[in-house]
Symmetry: C2
Subunit: 477 residues, 2 copies
């Protein structure tokens, strides 16, 4: 059978999760490797996933008053150097342009790894008075970081993302913005991508180069490893001072504004794959799937089957669903495997016998459950089935996370739990030495200090000093 | 008056068209200069214009079966060199990346000036059989060409564009595609952007580096200069051979496929400005304007005025129009000038007396014509007024082109007409020597050999040899 053969091409998740992941990326035709070291090609289906994710965020950004801009992709070296922590963090991993045409540049420029410096330089020019604040800007673009290893969506030298950059009259407003955007990230992850996330704050060691505080959403992948899925940074007035940005406030006093930045990237596609996928391939959450339903005519050569399949598809489209019909001459078995690989949330089978009965069969991608529905007037029921798929995907991911989250009270317990990929919840003294020790001796890094969690212990399990926070540890992508 | 002061900041078109253009770009807040030499910042309104234009094209590309992808932004030097004419055309104007982090690269890479070489490399990997054809791919991205001069939208080192790249089993199909995309370009320019264009073929001298034929749409700006507004290239099998792309055809024979590429860019924004703008600023065609109508409450402090303005705006939005309300405490005069500068196609004035009469005043941006309409049920009429604006803008641009298009029969006539910016229509022998002579002695370049124009003369006015085509000459941006 054609479908059998096709599916056999994927490594099983349990056997080799890394290989399974790469197999899905390639066989579902999300990416292709290129001859440009460290970069991948986003193929049509992979790019369509990004377009779908982008649309969800872009709408929310605009609803909260943000506007899109486009900054140059180059940053002159002197501009990158203006904020000390920032250049230290990024200099080792940028690509340098040294020549334009046949001429050597008088000052080399890097390809943007992130654009704080460009936005600051721009803000310096356009912000003068309190009337010019807040500035709520965002850009969709690609950035470059010279990574040594390559994994599609997770780690590539060039990747696609959005970077929001805002400027505020007060620290309070800037902190509020940082939190607002983190909440938008969490909303899209949970309610659109069906990926449960833990919201929290990064430790000083793990925060963004130049930030005063970095907030993060952390998701757990199927294999128990963490994926940092989006970050939101509060800069205080550090960048503004370094770039000499000032404004005249309402009392006619010269003040320094406060800044934020926040970003999500094509990593989220990697997150989708590793959260929901299975041994048949990709499983897409219905609210973001570019195509939610594929209609497959059975015994399509029989008179009227294709027509009825098209009619059904049109009626579902009219109800706002994203539907395709595959009336090609490939076998139904081949098609089933193909659309399972591509993770379409639902397939509809409709053949002569169904048509005789006035029904069709809806098959959910995630659990293969079949539902027989009447051809007429089932759009509402189909939507319910799609919502149920979303809920199951979310629940399954949450259960996976809960099953792989442990609370540890001693160093030995941490070491024991860390033998498998998981989140380890502990108390923490806030000292970087304990963080370093856990990294070196146990191989886990701090994921975040979660918001609103009850204290685990009074003392740090690593050093025994007074605890100041609850923290999650884990191994991360 | 506030509006007077504001408008005085723009240079008049007749006085200095170049300065007028830059003034509009800056005062309408479309762009800002950056500290990155040769690059500009697309500010929110400038980027919104690009988003609007992009949406129009993207929809048409998808309707004709094209899919979006994303290729790496870097091209290794050896890849760029594979097609000889191509590297000769682009090598002098690319930016070279030589270092990644602290390490020198073993092979330098350029930032893409265009991506034919990357697509070919990809096609070689994914095309094997006739079943894999056609490939109809497109990408939206930025490209870099190391220009010496900078003019916002028209000539910058980095600019935004789309590049379509397609691969076909036969030459006929590829030629058809080249023409199809040129027609889509012309459709959007004329029916959305209200910019009349001349469709034609470029001479060998002016065609794209590596192309067998380049088709173009040429628009005339208000000052009589030409703007090449979009190009569509037929490559034959040249690139495919250089990259060793082959496929097994239906007869199981190894064949070489045929290729096209086509692109439009943020130049079109420059085209919009220079086609429709006037001494009060930008004039946007209503079908692409991000905001079509701004509602301005008059005597807004009076009870009920702002409420009624909002109500009216909501009812127009409900009819599918893009509407904003400016209820800020700036004076109406300031607002009138502001939205004229930004080119909003229509403003609506509504004050206490209007409300008493159950009416509002619609003012067209292009000719300032006022129309009094009833508050209830005028959405249809407003749409008609917007369509009329589109038609007037198109007609005005067409008349400008016709007024500045001359047919010449002798070299002297060409020289005489070329004293002013215009299109000069002549016969041509097809010899590059005549083209070179006109460039050197008269200062005009060939714009295109128009499709479907009657022959002008039997002989070339430059050399007296037999004519093979009609051709347009002009000065171009």
């Amino acid at each position: 059978m054609a479908d059998k053969k096709f599916v056999e091409q994927i490594t099983s998740m349990e056997e080799d999760f890394t290989k399974w992941y790469t197999d899905v990326c390639l066989k579902a035709e999300l990416v292709s490797y290129s001859n440009v070291a460290g970069c991948v090609i986003f193929r049509p289906y992979g790019y369509a996933l990004w377009e779908a994710i982008r649309a969800e965020f872009d709408r929310r950004f605009k609803e909260t008053g943000h506007q899109n801009v486009y900054m140059p992709m180059f940053i002159p070296e002197s501009l990158l150097q203006k904020e000390k922590d920032h250049i230290e963090g990024f200099a080792p991993e940028v690509a340098w342009v040294t020549h334009g045409g046949t001429e050597e540049l008088t000052e080399r420029m890097c390809v943007r790894p992130t654009s704080e410096t460009l936005f600051c330089d721009h803000y310096k020019n356009i912000v003068h008075s309190w009337r010019d604040l807040p500035q709520l800007l965002n850009q969709w673009c690609s950035v470059v970081r010279w990574e040594k290893t390559t994994r599609p969506f997770l780690r590539t030298r060039e990747f696609l993302w959005q970077e929001g950059h805002t400027l505020h009259a007060t620290a309070e407003e800037a902190v509020e913005e940082t939190e607002r955007m983190l909440n938008i990230y969490a909303d899209v992850c949970e309610n659109v991508l069906a990926m449960p996330v833990i919201k929290g704050k990064k430790t000083d060691k793990e925060k963004f180069a130049g930030a005063e505080a970095t907030y993060t959403i952390e998701a757990m992948m199927h294999d128990g490893k963490a994926l940092q899925s989006g970050t939101s940074h509060y800069f205080g007035d550090g960048f503004a001072k370094a770039f000499d940005i000032t404004f005249t406030d309402k009392n006619n006093k010269l003040s320094t504004p406060f800044e934020t930045s926040w970003g999500v990237s094509t990593r989220l596609i990697g997150g989708l794959i590793m959260t929901h996928g299975d041994d048949s391939g990709l499983v897409l959450p219905p609210r973001m799937a570019p195509t939610q339903i594929v209609v497959i005519p059975i015994a399509a050569h029989k008179g009227g089957v294709i027509e009825k399949a098209n009619e059904l598809a049109e009626s579902l489209k009219a109800a706002g669903l994203r539907v395709a019909v595959d009336a090609s001459d490939n076998s139904p078995g081949w098609k089933f495997a193909e659309y399972e690989m591509k993770g379409y949330p639902m397939r509809i089978e409709i053949g002569p016998r169904d048509i005789e009965n006035g029904t069709f069969v809806a098959v959910a991608r995630d659990n293969r459950e079949k539902t027989i529905l009447p051809i007429e007037g089932s759009a509402g029921k189909v939507k319910e089935l799609l919502d149920a798929i979303h809920d199951r995907l979310y629940k399954k991911a949450l259960e996976n996370r809960e099953r792989h989250t442990h609370t540890a009270h001693t160093f030995e317990e941490i070491r024991e739990f860390a033998k498998e990929n998981c989140f380890i919840r502990t108390a923490w003294c806030g000292d970087e030495a304990c963080e370093d020790r856990l990294k070196e001796e146990v191989g886990v890094t701090s994921r975040c200090m979660p918001f609103g969690e009850a204290p685990v212990d009074d003392v740090c399990p690593v050093c025994g000093k007074k605890s100041v926070t609850t923290i999650f540890w884990g191994k991360a992508y």
